[in-house]
Structures are given as C-alpha cells and as structure tokens.
Amino acid sequence: MDAQTVAKVARLARIHLDDKDLPILQERLTGILKWVSMLDEVETTNVEPMFSVHLETSPVREDVVTSASMVNDILANAPEKELDMFVVPKMVG
C-alpha cells in the first residue's frame, strides 16, 4: 500500500489524516496486508464463500407498523436539530 492509496482509502472512509501520519500508517497497513496474504496458501478453488456461520431459518417480520412516532427519542442525542429535523452543513449536489 503506498501513501497515495492510504490517503485515498482515508477519503473513502471519511477520516481526516494528517500528512505526517501517512507514512506510519502506510507501513503498518502494508505489514498487515502482507501477513494476511498468507491466506493465498489455502486451496479454495471449489470452496464457496461463507455467507452465514450457521444456515438456520432467519426470523422475518410481519407487515405491521410496530413503531409509532418516536421523534423525541430519535432526535434526543442529535448534535444539531431544528424543526424536528437533523441539521448538517449544506450538502452539495
């Protein structure tokens, strides 16, 4: 992983990184990636990826409204709110 990739990944993950932190991160992440590539040693040509650890029938919901207005609870921890809506910096596009 090069520094540019680290910066790009940080962008995708929306985490600001200072330039000075890039090299250390790059080193650590490269090291980890190298180590996990040990997985290539495992023969998996005819092995399906595992979707779910135990294939059991999954619970489903009936089509009923089970949650009445919870606007106060929903907004209770909002850093900024107005008119019962969450407020954020103006979105572009």
């Binding site: 992983m1 990739t5 680290v6 990944v9 940080a10 995708l12 993950a13 929306r14 985490i15 600001h16 990184l17 991160l25 650590r28 992440l29 090291g31 980890i32 990636l33 180590w35 996990v36 590539s37 040990m38 997985l39 290539d40 040693e41 495992v42 998996t44 092995v47 399906e48 990826p49 595992m50 979707f51 779910s52 650890v53 135990h54 059991e56 029938t57 999954s58 619970p59 919901r61 919870m70 609870d73 929903i74 209770a76 921890n77 909002a78 850093p79 900024e80 969450f86 954020v88 910096p89 103006k90 979105m91 572009v92």
Partner: protein, 488 residues
C-alpha cells in the same frame, strides 16, 4: 461491615432466602469494593443509585417469596451494551455522553431476572484490542500482582474492565463480548471464567456492533456454574436480531451435573503454536489428565488450517467494522466536529472521535472491500472461513469437545506489551478459530505460570454444544482447584 463480596452466588442466594442479609447490604458492600479498587479503572461509570434501587426491588420480591433467579446479584455491564438512559460509550470519544433510549436484549434479560447493575465497565475502544489499552478512558489494570514485583499487568481485552471487575470482586458477574477472544482471553489473563457461546445464541440487539458475523455476548464469572446460570438467562431467540438462533435454549444449569463418563476430548496438534510457554504446555497436559481421571477419553486430532484463522479474522473483522462504524458520522448522535462542508464534518468528526487502533482497522477494512481487492481479500477470507468451519465439523464427528490453552502466554506487564501489531494479534491465535467457525468456547482458570500469573484452559465445542462445553469446563475447574493468586 461484612465484606459480602467474598460470598459465592450460591451463598448469596441461600443467604437472601434465609434472610441472613439483604440485597441492599450486599450491594452496598460491592459499591464499597468498587470504590476501594477504583485505581484499577475497571469501571468507566458507576451507577450506585440504580444499583441500590434495584437492590431494594429485589429485597421486596424476596420478602414476598417471589425471588427471581438473579435477584440481588451484582452485575457489571461492558460499556458496549446499550443501557437505557445510562451513558453507553463503547469507550470511544465518538460516543462520549451518549445515552441510548433503548436497552440491549442481553441486559434487559438480566434486569428481568432481578440482577443489579453496578456500573459500566471499561473496554478496548469499539471492542478492538486485546489489552484494554485502546480505551478512550484510560487502561485497566489487572488486579493480579506478583509478590515482590511492582509491575502491573494488563487484564487483556477487549472485555478488560469486566474481567478485572470480577477478578477484583468488584462485581460478582459481568457481561462481555467476544469477537476474536475478547471474553476468553481477559478471563484467562485475570484468572476467572469467561465463555463465548455458539454464534447466535445470545441476541446482538443493542450491542454496539464491531464485526457482525463474529460478535457474541457472554458471561465473565468466578465459576463455571455462575457462567451457566448467566448464559441460561441471557440466551434465547430474539426476533429483533435476524442472526439470532431460532431454537429452544437447553437447560445449561440442569445439564451441568451430567456425568462426564465417555466424553471424547480432542487435543488439536496445531494448537501447539510457536511461542507457547512450557508452563502452558505442562498445564495442557495436566488438563488432559484431569479429564481422563473423570471418565473422559483423549485423542489427538488435527485442525491443519488453524493458523489461517487469525489472518482471515484480520480481513473479515475490519471489513465488517469499517461498514458498521460508518454510522458514526456526527449527524444524528455522538461527537460532532464542525466542518465547512458535510464531508469535512465527517472527516473531522471521525478523526477526532476514533482512536488509532480503530482508525487503522477501519482503513484496513475499507481497503480490503474496495474495488479490485474484494475478491482477493474478503471473498478469499470467506472461503477460508468455510474451510476452517468444515474442518471443525469433521473433527467433531469423532470428538465431543476440544481441549486447548486459551492464550499462548500469560498476561504481560505494562511497557512489556508486544510492539508490533501482528505479535499483538497473536494473543488471539488460539481463541479466534472458535469465532471464525461460530463455535462455543469457554476459558477456565487452571493454573499459574512460573511467575505466578493466571493461565486458562479452553474447551471448544461443536455448534449448539454450549451445554457440553460447560460440563467439560466444570470438570476442568473441579480438578484444577484454582486459587486466585494474590492481588488487589
């Protein structure tokens, strides 16, 4: 004042019934103990008012002969579990001050059974770590000390606070979560019992999610019997969790006493990892002998892909975490750091809110899922996961449980922790396979290292084999006769 913290669960319940003492007295004693052991930093939040109110309610029920199964039993809750109107932070700056308006299913079951909440325990931030050193609220100190040695030791992680609290008698039992060993490893490091049940046995609703396909709630307790009771109460299908098992919960407590005779125990060859201490190997041998003495048979088994569980984990867990932690964006709750644009707000908030380890794992996870790498890393890891699961299933056709050490080493002192991340990850090499395959596993304190630090032995069972795991764990506990070493 009597120190009620030394009484066992059974002693407490008997005492309550015979009216030898009240819940309030016991809880007050625990609150005092918490105060006395404050330096361990096991708790990030004490809830004495809630505890005493609950104690009083327990007393009222006991008076009316309507005692619930955990009435008056003091419990500590890992700060990963959402507790209604009580701050829940996952020990991250991101959620500092966050008060959920809802309760996790696991803790609700405890309160419904009459348990008393003493407080929220410290943990590695967002459950990512194995030393409790990544917490935003300071590290936890292992109550175990060595005679004539000033060093303090790590409690393990991520459920370090819960383990330390139980070990220090600042709680009788505690909830924890185990994604790669986060219950079992700290239990081993602190000399107590810790269990991770079959994936899906306990509901994940209301648990701050780290890695959805690996996370499981479980008990940290002094004894295996206590763990069985706590598991009995917290297990069960939850329609609010789509990964929750839809099966009746076995009678763990009742089945504990079933005889061990005929139990087939597997000793996995590949668990003799590099760096496994001689004292641990010796303890493992002893464990084998203890089980045979009680009627079990032991046989060598092979799990050739064991060593791939850890790298698979370090692809899958960060990947799922990178997605699960995307909701922490400063919009609806938690920390917000302002920015000129929405993206700037995201970037500033998450840079400030997430610690270094969390940041590393989120970046790692984002990378392994990204275009061009998804097949090579994530899908590959999912295939290896199936290989490992199938391998376990094959072995469990011939044995009922597996016996192994819990960790390759005992705890280490602050300042002596492994400096490079991969060596740090190796703490979990023996615990991670059970998470990868969704299998139940328990760590039972079984002996001391040559220096005198606690060592745990691990029993791993087949899927849905939580009961046999508990039974075998009990057998180890009985034979080991572990005495908690000196400590705080």
């Amino acid at each position: 004042m009597t120190d009620f913290t030394t009484l066992s669960l059974t002693d407490l319940k008997n005492g309550y019934e015979k009216k030898d003492f009240t819940c309030r007295e016991v809880v007050t004693s625990y609150l005092a103990r918490m105060e006395a052991t404050k330096a361990l930093n096991a708790y990030v939040l004490e809830t004495p008012d809630i505890a005493l109110a609950a104690a009083d309610r327990s007393d009222a029920r006991i008076q009316k002969q309507e005692a619930l199964s955990l009435d008056g039993i003091p419990v500590a809750v890992k700060d990963l579990f959402c507790t209604k109107d009580v701050p829940t932070t996952a020990c991250s700056k991101m959620l500092e001050g966050y008060k959920p308006k809802y309760e996790s299913t696991v803790t609700q079951k405890l309160w419904d059974a009459g348990a008393v909440m003493l407080g929220k325990t410290n943990m590695d931030e967002f459950a990512m770590g194995s030393t409790n050193m990544t917490s935003a609220f300071g590290p936890v100190i292992n109550p175990v000390t060595l005679p004539g040695d000033a060093r303090r030791f790590v409690p393990g992680g991520s459920s370090g606070g819960s383990a330390a609290a139980v070990a220090a008698r600042a709680a009788l039992m505690a909830t924890g979560s185990d994604t790669g060993g986060s219950i079992r490893q700290p239990a081993a490091f602190c000399g107590i019992v810790g269990m991770k049940p079959t994936y899906g046995l306990c509901s994940r609703y209301g648990m701050v999610a780290f890695a959805s396909s690996l996370d499981q709630a479980g008990p940290l307790t002094r004894t295996v019997a206590d763990a069985a009771l706590m598991l009995q109460i917290t297990a069960g299908h939850d329609p609010k969790d789509a990964t929750s098992l839809n099966r009746p919960v076995p009678d763990f407590v009742g089945e504990l006493s079933a005889p061990l005779k005929g139990l087939r125990v597997g000793i996995p060859h590949e668990y003799q990892v590099e760096g496994l201490g001689a004292d641990i190997v010796a303890l493992w041998e002893k464990g084998r002998a203890w089980l045979v003495e009680q009627g079990a048979t032991c046989v060598e088994v092979s799990l050739p892909h064991t060593k791939y569980a850890l790298p698979a984990y370090y692809v899958l867990a960060p990947a799922e975490a990178s997605s699960n932690l995307a909701r922490y964006d400063g919009v609806r709750y938690g920390l917000r750091v302002e920015g000129a644009t929405l993206d700037e707000m995201y970037e500033n908030t998450r840079a400030e809110g997430f610690g270094d380890e969390v940041t590393r794992r989120v970046l790692m996870g984002t990378y392994v899922l990204s275009a061009g790498f998804y097949d090579a890393y994530y899908r590959k890891a999912q295939r290896v996961r199936r290989v490992i699961s199938d391998e376990f299933r094959g072995v469990f056709e011939n044995v009922d449980v597996i016996l192994a050490p819990t960790t390759p080493t005992p705890s280490f002192a602050f300042g002596e922790e492994p400096k490079d991340p991969i060596s740090m990850y190796m703490n979990d090499v023996l615990t991670v396979p059970a998470n990868i395959a969704g299998l139940p596993a328990i760590s039972v304190p079984a002996g001391l290292s040559k220096e005198g630090l606690p060592l745990g032995l691990q029993i791993i069972g087949p899927a849905f084999g939580d009961s046999v795991v508990l039974r075998a764990g009990l057998a180890v506990e009985r034979a080991a006769n572990f005495v908690f070493p000196q400590g705080e």
